[in-house]
Structures are given as structure tokens and as C-alpha cells.
Amino acid sequence: MQIDKKTVTKVALLSRLELDEKETELYSTQLAAILSYIDKLNEIDTKEVLPTSHVLPNLKNVFRKDSLKSSLDVSDVLSNAPSKEGDLFKVPQVIEGK
């Protein structure tokens, strides 16, 4: 199982990580080894099998009522902010649109 450096770089960007040349090399190798091991799963036929997203089969329909709870004080909300202006979190400029 090979995982080429271009893929690692692309995945890194998706994860908002940057890797230098050495790291890209290292992770390529390590991830390839891990993914090779994981390929074992192809030995099993799972065509008719349903996936388990939730391990508690009987837990369904968990709701909360639409009633007001107290919110945090604004000072607590911002207490860990690396950068703020007034009551707002401050970040470097975004170019509008996603």
C-alpha cells in the first residue's frame, strides 16, 4: 500500500496542517505501513452487513425540550480568547465566502 507525498500534502491541507519535506516523507511511510495493516479488513465480506455508527442499539429519539437555559456570561465566553475586541472574537482577515 503506497500513499504518495502529493496525497499526504493534500490531506494535510484539508486538516489545516503543514509538513516540511522530512515530515511529509516520514508520515508517508508511517501512514503507508498503517494503511497496509488496515487492508486486512478486505479479507472480510461485509456486503450484507449494516454499519455500526452507534453501539447502543436501543437508544433512539433523544430530545430536549425547547425551554430556555441560562447562557454563559460574555466575560466567561471570551475569557480564553487569544484575541478579542469588545464582545467579539478577533481573527486575521477572511476573504468573504467559503
Partner: protein, 478 residues
Amino acid sequence: MEKLYSLTAHELKEKIDKSSLSPSGILDSLFERIASVDKKIKAFVYLNKNASSGIEKNRSGKLYGIPILIKDNICVKGEETTCASRILAGFKPPYDATVIKRLKAEGAVLIGKANMDEFAFGSSCETSCYGPTRNPWDAERIPGGSSGGSAAAVASDQTILALGSDTGGSIRQPASLCGVVGLKPTYGRVSRYGLIAFASSLDQIGPITKDVTDAALVMNVISGYDEMDSTCVDMPVPDYTKSLVKDVKGLRVGVPKEYFIEGIDSEVEASIRRSIDVLRDLGAKIVDITLPHTQYAVSTYYIVAPAEASSNLARFDGVQYGFRVQDAKDLIDMYIKTRSKGFGNEAKRRILLGTYSLSTGYYDAYYLKAQKVRTKIKEDFDNAFKLCDIIVTPTTPTPAFRIGEKTKDPLSMYLSDIFTISANLAGLPAISIPCGFSKDSLPIGLHILARPFDEETLFRAAYTFEQNTDHHKRKPAL
């Protein structure tokens, strides 16, 4: 003078109830112990020197006056909670995790935060940004992970009780390697609200303690429905101390053949086999069972867990809390540099692995496939529990390995989780209890699994074994 720090919670509770002991006396004893021992063990990332101000006036709490150490991925209001990661440096949550609320309400005294693998990614406590915790039985060896600090602190009598979290074995494996008791509850038994998430469908908070009785005391307090956690089940919580009876007559004990494979240390295997004999002698019925998909558990886990983790860790970006680089040229640069500097290598590795397995083109082959194999693994246990009431295996394939021994080879580190992982994939309750020692006086742990929400049988079996042996009474020489 009896060393208070070496006692269990139930022993201390008895003394407090008789009014022959005050909680501040316990704390004094403990702090002296910590001062003398933790520079070698390094279990603590934060010691609350003002812990005595947390002693309740109301003495009626179930854990009144008992000190407890909290793993650093569980939110304690106003206390730095970092998951042993630089990216959360300085983060003080403005709220308590539900389990913390419950502990405080029952009078427990929170003494600080325990070291761990960064974001719980690891089996050795070596990925912590604070450096590794040492195994109290041999300071050149790892205590296990990711709840290494919690287990080491309990084993070295630096705390009476501890909380850990378990996603693939992170409570049980360090408990085993440190010679203490570690319990992972059934998924949904204990609220995850306030536990900084690693893998949401696998995580559980649980106790790490000196004996089985203490684990039952903690479970009585932390278990039960929480409206803040959709995955926490609304089922009544029994009094687990009522399960502390010495009786395994007729209990069907399943021994899965797939767990006694090449690669297990011979001393570990021998110790487990002897333990099974003990149970047989006490009247349990030993049943051979098969869990045919065991060999796929590690592969399944190492897709599901990193995938969920990669999404859970996306929020660490320097916007609202934690570390942020100062010299970013724009937003994306800030994200990238903050995360690249803030996360350690194992965290990056898992994020990359997880992102890869969820990305377009790979989702079906990896994530979806793994969730399907997970179904097969769960089915194995459903079938097995038709033939037995508990399942018994080794907790780890070897006793504690040396610091640095497996850090160059992530895959070999992952494979050391092989026995504990399935319980998380299937959502089952599981406990590790001391069952022997190697020639080098390194602890060996016995791993017991039970049916979902049957912690009672787990406690009964574990208590019976413990009370008929004395491994749990041995302490490391410190």
C-alpha cells in the same frame, strides 16, 4: 503512624465516618507523599495546593473528604485543562464536566490534573507535551497510556482515587501496567459531557483505583443519565457496592482462544492461566469460546477512532481558546501554523490518518468498511455471551515496556492495544485487576469483560478474585 496516603478510599471513609480523621489530615499526608515522590514519577501536570478549600462543609457526601486526581482531558471549571497538548495551553474551561459536578456534589476533593498522552492518543504516556510519566515499579518504563498519570499516581499512593478515560484501553492498560484497578464502563453508562472528545463513539470516563471496592464507590457517583449527553442512557444506576460479594459459583467464564496467540509474553500468559485456575477453584465454570473477528479489531479501531478524532480536533484552531501563533499573515495561515506548532506528532499522524479515511473516494473503503466490521465484532460478543457471563483475557500482551522502545514504530505501539480495543468497539464494560507480577516485579493485569450494563457481574467476579489473592496489596518500592 499509619501512612494515610497508602490507604484506600473505603478505609479512609470508615475513619472519617468514625470522626477519627479529618479530610485535611488526608490531604496533608498526600501532599507530603507527592512532594517526595512525584519528581521521579511525574504523574501530575497540575497540583491544586488549595485543594483543602474544596473540602465541603456538608459531610453527607458518598465520597466526602476523599481526594481524587482528574485526567487532564476532563473539564474542571477554572482549572487549566490541556489534554497534555500545547494547543490548549492556558485553557480554563468555564464549566465543569458532569462527572466533576457529581464528584463535587458528593464531597470528593479534587487535588489536580493527571498527565496523559496528548489528546489521549497513545498507550505509553510518551506523547504528552509535558514529557512522559514513569512507571512507579520501574522508572525506566512507561506507565501505560493514555491515562498514565492517573494510574501511576494511584499506584504510587499520590492520590487515593483517580479518573481516567478509555477509548481503546486507556484506563485498563495503564491500570494493568501499574498494578492497580481500572474500569471502563459500558458505553453510555457515564456522561461524556465535559470529556474532551477523542473518538465520540468509543470514549468513556472511568475510575482508576487501588482496589475493586473503591472502583464501585466511584461508579456509584459518576454513573447515570445526563440530559447534556445524547448518548448517555437513562437507566437506573444500581448500588455497585452490593455486587461486592465473594461468589463466583456457577459463573460461566469465557476464555477466547484468539487472545492466547503468538506474541504474548510467556509470563503474562502463565499469570492469566493461573488466574483462570483461581476462578475455576472458586467454583466458576470455564468455557472455551471464540471471537473470530478479534484479528480485525486493531484495524477497525485505527480507522474509526482517528476518523472521529480528526473531526473532533478540528476545533483547535486558535480562534476562541488555547494557543494561537502571533505572526500569521492571514486566516488560513493562522489555522495552519497554529495547528502545526500546537499539535504533537502522534496527534498529527492520527489527524492525517482520520482525514484520509473520511475523504472522498476513501470513505467507503475505509470508514464505512470499518463500521461494518465493527458490527461483526459486536456480533461475536453477542454470540459469546450466550455461552458465558464474563470473558477473561490478558489486559496487555507484555508487561510495561521501556520508555522510547516503541516510539519509532507507531504500528507496534498500536498493536499493544490488541486485547482492550474490542470492548470499546462493542461498547462493553471491562475491568483490569492485578493478577500477578513478572520476574522483574512488573505488574500483570487480568482483563474481564461483561455484557452491556452488567457492571454488577463484573464487580462480583473482580471482587471475588481480588479477595482470594493479594496482588493488589503489593506496592512499588518508592
